[in-house]
Symmetry: C2
Subunit: 348 residues, 2 copies
């Protein structure tokens, strides 16, 4: 297999750390790995395969000669650098929402729509961390019995916001346990021992952008523009692991046992569903794992063609870094990686 | 107003503590207050109105002569003692699920169906702590535009389970923050920094009893047996305050602004809904208050006749103790309180 020169923009973030772990675990075939971050991280080194690698500042020059660049930084960085990488002849695999709805950019979960990679033009987006597990769990069922409507409520971990949110949860939890009060910094209200129905900004419709993303991204990935989706996205005081309560209406009646069998045979999905022994997915046990876990599959009592179910995913791994790395692996397998121009790209 | 002899079975529990606070706050008109609990609590005293009151053991004799007995204990205690209170000529207002679906027992949220109290035969049930806020928020809308289907996901505080669960959340949170591992006692899995889609026992349908209760109790209270309801009930690491994400299908289109106006004018409901300034209900701010708080009212993007919304309630107060005390207040106003026989009741 061709050994690639790869880069990681956002190497010092919460998702960046997972990228490094997963590249190591999967022995991703690269010739060189360039760790990039903002100027704040100058002078830092990160451990990879028992080696200390320096963190470099992200500049247009820093991505020169890289075949694949993973980007997990701010949306502004994604906007600029994905375009620069593509212009230089490499492929950017971007974790932000900057490019996801661009019709020229494939939005890919390899288990669901790997074929869309064939249309890539140098930028590929990986979906929102709540969209990935939903399409993983629903696409295999949709192929058998087309889905008409999805109502979903989420329970989202603070690591989706980033390292500072993880620290804020810990420090707030400590001060509550000590009987002290808190001033929130990252979220508008306290998150420790609380839940907040606000993820990303509010839109005129009353939905948040996170809720809108779940809807629009799902339709794009599943090639199902007619799907009707309503989401309520809620932040919960969990470090890692997003959970979702799903109510899914199919075109025809769907037996819960059949859904169980289909999902149990779907790549990247594990069914954990034995209520008698309290077996169902929950974030504490899903953190650090690669699969989308599905449980509590049952006939929806409120609609003859609907199922209710519950899923959990590690939002940093399959919800973000792992999915991006799997996209890169597919690009290699599909022989879609080009040799970039050796010189630095220039911004426009 | 007639001054009553009242009793509180379960005085030392989490809901019991709220009962005492609320009786004091509302200056409930009683002549005597008997605090009752299990044998474990013998010798304890509780503060009420700056006075120390002794806790007595619950026995058939202990309820003799009481006009109203609030019961917030185990289901077994409710089964026995509600019947004994009724037999002795008093009225039991029971917080458990023991009697709620009994056709002879009114299940009441005063703001919604106070008229049902007229049919009481000595036992009145107060609904589950997730049902109370849902019917408070939906009944005013249902009267204008009949509701056909409700899909609801909950975010339930540990205090709903009781004092031991509150302590377990704190002790688990402490040990996680100290990097130590936990053995769960109250819940099947760790609850600190986790969410668990299991509240009450599982039924053959795949739903939990909690989910079933939300459905069946709502239909009974709203006198709407044709309502279709599907719930997913989830325990979250919050001390006090249950939240619910609701998707509600009406018979006809329902303007979110109209729903806002109707709810803002409904007794016991407060609308907190201004996304621009992150104004919406959340449990940390709802704990210790009496209202059902509703926010995030929006047109459901997945159905033309549906609204999505979010609500939060203090599960110990309006979700339990306050609602029971309001029932007692209504009984007095409606002149439904009888004088019990002065001698002790005998069990059958």
């Amino acid at each position: 297999m061709k050994r690639l020169n790869i880069g990681l923009i956002g190497a010092t973030g919460a998702v960046g750390a997972e990228f490094l772990k997963i590249l190591e675990e999967r022995q991703f075939p690269f010739a060189s790995l360039r760790l990039l971050a903002s100027e704040r991280s100058i002078g830092r080194t990160l451990l990879f395969n028992h080696q200390k690698l320096p963190v470099e500042v992200t500049t247009p020059q820093s991505i020169a000669g890289l075949e694949i660049v993973f980007i997990s930084a701010t949306t502004a960085v994604s906007k600029d650098y994905a375009a620069l990488v593509a212009k230089a002849g490499g492929i950017a695999i971007d974790d932000s929402s900057a490019w996801r709805m661009d019709p020229e950019v494939p939005l890919v979960v390899p288990e669901v729509n790997r074929a869309d990679l064939e249309n890539q033009k140098g930028i590929i987006s990986t979906p929102n961390c709540t969209t990935v597990p939903m399409v993983m769990a629903l696409s295999p069922l949709h192929k058998i019995n087309p889905i008409k409507r999805i109502v979903v409520s989420t329970y989202q971990a603070v690591s989706g916001t980033g390292r500072a949110a993880v620290e804020e949860l810990s420090s707030q939890a400590r001060s509550v346990l000590e009987g002290k009060s808190n001033v929130p910094h990252i979220y508008p209200h306290q998150i420790a021992f609380n839940v907040l129905p606000e993820v990303d900004v509010f839109m005129d419709s009353g939905y948040t952008r996170e809720e809108w993303k779940m809807s629009e991204e799902t339709k794009k990935i599943m090639h199902a523009p007619e799907l009707l989706i309503s989401a309520t996205c809620v932040r919960v005081p969990v470090y890692v692991g997003h959970s979702e309560a799903l109510h899914v209406e199919f075109s025809n009646p769907m037996d819960p046992g059949e859904a169980h069998r289909i999902l149990a045979g779907s790549p990247g999905v594990k069914v954990l569903d034995d209520p008698a022994v309290s077996l169902y997915p929950h974030p504490w046990s899903a953190a650090g794992t690669d699969d989308v876990f599905v449980g509590r599959i049952r006939q929806d009592a409120s609609h003859p063609n609907s199922l209710a179910m519950w899923l959990v995913v590690d939002n940093l791994r399959k919800g973000a870094a792992l999915n991006a790395i799997q996209i890169a692996e597919e690009l290699v397998k599909m022989d879609l990686v080009r040799s970039p121009r050796p010189t630095a790209a220039r911004g426009t």
